[in-house]
Amino acid sequence: MTLVVVLIAYLFVLIVFFLYSLYAVHHLNEYGYSGDASQLALKIYLGYSSIVIMVSLVGIFVGLMSL
């Protein structure tokens, strides 16, 4: 039961994070300029976030498989 609650909470975190990132990308696209440092920061941020999400999902998967 605790496991299910934790996984649902993590799903909620991922949804909120996705919405926040979507707004951040839109905001920087609106006020930044193509080819400048804001776009580079966005790429780094999105790359970092993708890696974190992938690794955490792999961890969850491995953990569930070994139960």
Binding site: A9, V13, N29, Y33, Y45, G59
Partner: protein, 272 residues
């Protein structure tokens, strides 16, 4: 390279409400040092999971590599690292989108707080009464950054540019521009009312010279001074405003191009 807004694909505007013939002279970003605070916080947050693993190992918890503990650990660390990323991005946005702009007519300061608050303050250079540059503390003295405080006439609140590089250069430039504008006003050379620009959606609003604003502040200030001196000498020789600058809007054609209902000195308009 001409900067383009990646949402609309059009040439990007630097700040809203640029006036006709108004030229952007100096573009100031905040000094990088205040951003180091955000970077430090981010680095500490990034290292926390490593410390937590070391501490857990120290107290004898060894089941992190399988089972239920691995799920909890992945969820916890994943959430923590995503929040850290969000903290860094917020700090970056606050740092990068906070700019000050000095034009031939106005001072504009854009302040970004988080993602959801953006404040644009502007002040006519003619309203400037006194300008002071303030450098406080060891770090600011060493790295030469600080605040520029512009005191204004009347009830208008003082105008402050925070954490800008070379504040004394900025203060000097503002005073120079104020003197020049006041002198022009006395000589009656302003050319009448400046109209708010209309931005056609089909073509770029102006040819914004982005490369110029990547130069350091001293170079920008020197180029501004040279540019103003050159323009002043041209002005006194043929009394004609030059408009070749890449940071100035192109002039409207003089004959019959003004639209119906536009504000023109000496002409009455009907308000329906």
């Amino acid at each position: 390279m001409t900067p383009r807004n990646t949402t609309t694909g059009q040439v990007a505007e630097l700040f809203p409400g640029q006036l006709e013939h108004e030229e952007i002279l100096i573009f100031i970003r905040r000094h990088w040092m205040p951003f180091m605070g955000w970077l430090g916080v981010t680095l500490i947050l990034l290292l926390l999971p490593v410390f937590s693993v070391v501490i857990l190992k120290g107290i004898g918890v060894n089941g992190l590599v399988h089972g239920r503990l691995l799920v909890f650990f992945s969820v916890g660390v994943g959430t923590h690292l995503l929040l850290t990323g969000a903290v860094f991005l917020t700090g970056w946005v606050e740092h990068y989108l906070a700019v000050s702009i000095i034009t031939t007519d106005r001072l504009v300061t854009i302040r970004q707080v988080g993602l959801f608050n953006r404040r644009v303050a502007e002040l006519s250079i003619l309203r400037v009464q006194d300008v002071s540059a303030q450098i406080r503390g060891y770090l600011q003295s060493l790295l030469r950054y600080g605040d520029v405080r512009v005191e204004t006439a009347g009830d208008v609140p003082n105008f402050i540019m925070r954490n800008v590089p070379q504040p004394h250069v900025i203060a000097h430039t503002i005073l120079m521009l104020h003197d020049r504008l006041a002198m022009e006003n006395r000589e009656g050379q302003t050319g009448g009312i400046r109209l708010p620009r209309k931005i056609p959606m089909s073509k770029p609003p102006h040819d914004y010279d982005h490369a110029h604003f990547n130069e350091d502040l001293l170079t920008q200030a020197r180029e501004t001074k040279e540019h103003l001196e050159r323009e002043h000498s041209d002005h006194s020789s043929n009394r004609e405003v030059k408009t070749e600058s890449p940071n100035r809007l192109p002039p409207r054609s003089q004959s019959g191009s003004r639209g119906e209902g536009e504000l023109i000195e000496g002409k009455s308009i009907s308000l329906q």
